[in-house]
């Protein structure tokens, strides 16, 4: 029951925000994440933003895959 979707916060009014998920917009509550700011990527569950998404961490994950690729390349060459 814990499906959650990443979304970008595009507008904020008090404790409600408009978020964008690939062009789809919906209103979510910020009651559980009051510090979220416009421009943040947040995780949405059951109509609430429940956590911010750390872009640094996400980029590190991407970096990891690049390393894996490089590794696979050397293996293939070897």
């Amino acid at each position: 029951m814990c499906v959650a979707v990443p979304a970008m916060m595009v507008e904020r009014e008090d404790f409600m925000a408009t978020v964008d998920i690939d062009g789809v917009r919906r209103q979510v509550s910020l009651m559980l994440l009051p510090e979220a700011r416009v421009g943040d990527y947040v995780l949405i569950h059951a109509g609430f933003a429940i956590q911010t998404i750390d872009e640094e961490e996400a980029l590190q994950t991407l970096q990891l895959f690049k390393e894996l690729e490089a590794y696979a390349d050397t293996e293939a060459d070897g």
Partner: protein, 338 residues
């Protein structure tokens, strides 16, 4: 649950297993005849030496107006497409209306105008019809039934029995657009204007395809129950397996986003302007080239192939390289947070 089994549930109309049971247990025994026994979108008939196709479908979509279409356009395109999928050139339609007392005349006019336009686009005539009005509360606004007759194209033989291992599965475009266009607005979502129903008549594209490649084995428009239902029915009918490539299954990003939010699977959502074609492997490029010439088929691609195994099932090779089953839908999709 006795309570549940004594009533018609929404799932009986969803194109899944319960729909199949309803057909097998109620309609099929009552209406049994050789044409119906082919279990296709339309019946293939021989009348006085000519070869005809005959199909019917009822339309109860809610909301009646949605991005990219309305119940009237759907009622024409749906039956036109059912005929086209049997390998026929659609010719004539009937239209039956069930109207709720109190429906605005203007709304009915709008719907009828849509039907006129769709019929013109498809090149068919609506030649007979019927109207019933029921008292307020006995129907939800407006229902339409259409039936259609078409002429089978020469040298074409579209049926499950011609599907063979090694043939390719072609899909004419992205999945789930109609399903999301119709239901997305219901759950407080604001959809971008890229999410519109794909509702469109496919008969011109199909005629061109079958004229140039008459050896196409099987065609189906994946409406209710989506790609999953259509291919599972084929797998069960033929006893063959169908293996799809997850990476080749096209879904518009906004449709995928709604599916993520509401917990739907685009492979189970209705399409109203897409077709699945099973073709000889050697014809794949030629078929794609023909489909690409049409706006309805511009995003056509090969999505998988028919195989001996898994017998009577549909599998998907996943992005990470594993394999999973694509099961028959089991009921109307309910938005969920699981």
């Amino acid at each position: 649950m006795n309570n549940a089994e004594q009533r018609i549930l929404m799932a009986h109309g969803s194109g899944g297993k319960l729909s199949g049971e309803l057909f097998q247990q109620v309609f099929f025994p009552a209406f049994a005849n050789p044409a119906l026994a082919e279990v296709h979108d339309g019946a293939r008939l021989t009348v006085a030496g000519g070869q005809l196709a005959f199909a019917t479908d009822s339309y109860v979509v809610k909301p009646r107006f949605f991005p990219g279409g309305d119940i009237g356009k759907l009622a024409v395109c749906g039956t036109v497409n059912d005929l086209a999928m049997t390998g026929a050139e659609p010719l004539y339609l009937s239209a039956g209306f069930i109207l709720e007392e109190g429906l605005a005349m203007a709304e009915l006019r709008n719907v009828v105008e849509s039907m006129r336009q769709a019929a013109a686009a498809a090149g068919v005539q609506i030649v007979t019809g019927d109207t019933k009005v029921v008292e307020k509360g006995a129907a939800d606004g407006l229902y339409i039934n259409t039936a259609g007759i078409g002429r089978l194209l020469p040298a074409v033989d579209i049926r499950a029995g011609r599907v063979r291992s090694g043939q390719m599965v072609i899909l004419s475009g992205s999945l789930g657009d109609h399903g999301i266009a119709v239901m997305g607005e219901r759950h407080g979502l604001t959809l971008p204007d890229t999410v519109i129903s794909d509702c469109a008549p496919l008969n011109h594209m199909v005629r061109e395809l079958l004229t140039e490649v008459p050896t196409v084995s099987w065609l189906r428009d994946p409406t209710r129950g989506g790609l999953a239902a259509a291919l599972n029915e084929l797998a069960v009918q033929t006893g063959l397996g169908i293996m799809l490539e997850e990476s080749e299954l096209p879904v518009n990003p906004a449709v995928a986003a709604v599916c993520d939010i509401l917990g739907f699977d685009p492979l189970y959502l209705a399409n109203e302007g897409k077709l699945i074609a099973i073709v000889e492997n050697k014809d794949t490029e030629k078929v794609l080239a023909i489909l690409h010439r049409h706006p309805e088929g511009v995003a056509s691609r090969a999505i998988g192939r028919v195989a001996e195994r898994p017998a009577a099932q549909v599998g998907i090779r996943t992005l990470v390289g594993g394999v999973r089953l694509l099961d028959m839908p089991t009921g109307d999709p309910l938005p969920r947070i699981c």
